[in-house]
């Protein structure tokens, strides 16, 4: 059985090996970019059906950001929305026969978790300056500084392992059942896998919001800020 922890290169682009996950990621990126351009090319105040449907998506992302972070969503909409849509499409790309979701490989998830790690620093510095961002590490009391430093690394790691583990275990389980039983047996498992994929995309976006909200609001006393602390 092929190990789920390794990835096999499909072809080589110069010295860089290109795996199947990278090709699928490129395809999803192309779909997102072309789709985004095509939809926003002719925007009108009286929306067509397609425009109304996609406005609903943007509106949902906005309201989630407003509920979770208690801030105006405009600066965070692009990052959070792209994260959610990309992971959602990546998890559901398993619907196409022969395609493995790129999030079932460690590298894609590591890249996404690294993006969140850098975005927390970026938004934190933009909200409170370098001093204000560093002050969030001493937020309840200065004794917590080493723990907060460790937490900021370990929570990115747990973000990576959570997405990888959930998506990979679904793919792995379907592979095992497919090798044991016949054609139609894994269909309920695939349906469960789609549900898990959607929930994990949502969870990833929510956790990115919670981390960013922690970095931008720890300095200011704000009684309405949700105080969701996360385990490492």
């Amino acid at each position: 059985m092929i190990s789920p922890l390794t990835s096999v290169p499909v072809f080589h682009l110069g010295p860089a090996p290109i795996t199947e996950a990278v090709v699928v990621t490129w395809a999803i990126m192309a779909i997102l970019v072309v789709g985004g351009i095509a939809i926003t090319r002719r925007l009108s105040l009286v929306p067509s059906r397609t425009q109304a449907a996609f406005e609903l998506v943007v509106d949902t992302v906005d309201s989630q950001i407003r509920d979770t972070m208690q801030v105006e969503p405009a600066p965070y909409r692009a990052f959070i929305g792209t994260l959610f849509v990309f992971i959602f499409l990546a998890n559901w790309s398993t619907l196409i026969p022969g395609v493995q979701p790129p999030t079932a490989h460690l590298e894609t998830d590591a890249a996404l978790a690294l993006l969140v790690f850098l975005a927390v620093i970026w938004f934190g510095i933009r909200a409170g300056g370098v001093g204000g961002y560093l002050a969030t590490f001493a937020s309840p009391s200065p004794i917590m500084i080493p723990l907060n430093f460790i937490e900021s690394v370990t929570r990115s790691f747990s973000l990576l392992v959570r997405l990888f583990g959930n998506v990979m275990s679904g793919v792995f389980m379907i592979g095992i059942v497919l090798s044991l039983a016949g054609l139609l047996v894994p269909i309920p498992l695939m349906a469960l896998d789609l549900l898990t994929g959607a929930v994990q995309a949502y969870i990833f976006a929510i956790l990115a919001m919670v981390f960013i909200a922690g970095a931008i609001s720890d300095g200011k006393p704000n009684p309405t800020t949700p105080n969701i602390r996360t385990a490492p």
């Binding site: 190990s3 509920d67 929510i206």
Partner: protein
């Protein structure tokens, strides 16, 4: 098959089985508490279920960690190379 491979397989099974017990109990408690809260205050169901989803993902991660450890033991065991 040497005894190292045997021990790896058995400990992978132990890791998954014991790693499933704790999160299962914890998720049951969390969902029960959320149901209770929604029954008392149906108007705050949206907030409760959002927090519940995030919490369930946190709890579930513990089981996923055990699964990853088991897969490491089975597929990427450094001692078996």
């Amino acid at each position: 098959m040497n005894w190292l491979a045997l021990v790896s397989i058995i400990s992978a099974a132990i890791a998954v089985s014991f790693g499933a017990i704790g999160p299962a109990l914890a998720e049951g408690r969390a969902v029960a508490a959320a149901m209770d809260a929604i029954a008392r205050q149906p108007e705050s169901a949206a907030t409760i279920s959002r927090t519940l989803f995030v919490g369930l993902a946190m709890i579930e991660t513990m089981a996923i960690y055990c699964l990853v450890i088991a897969l490491l033991l089975l597929f990427a065991n450094p001692l078996l190379k």
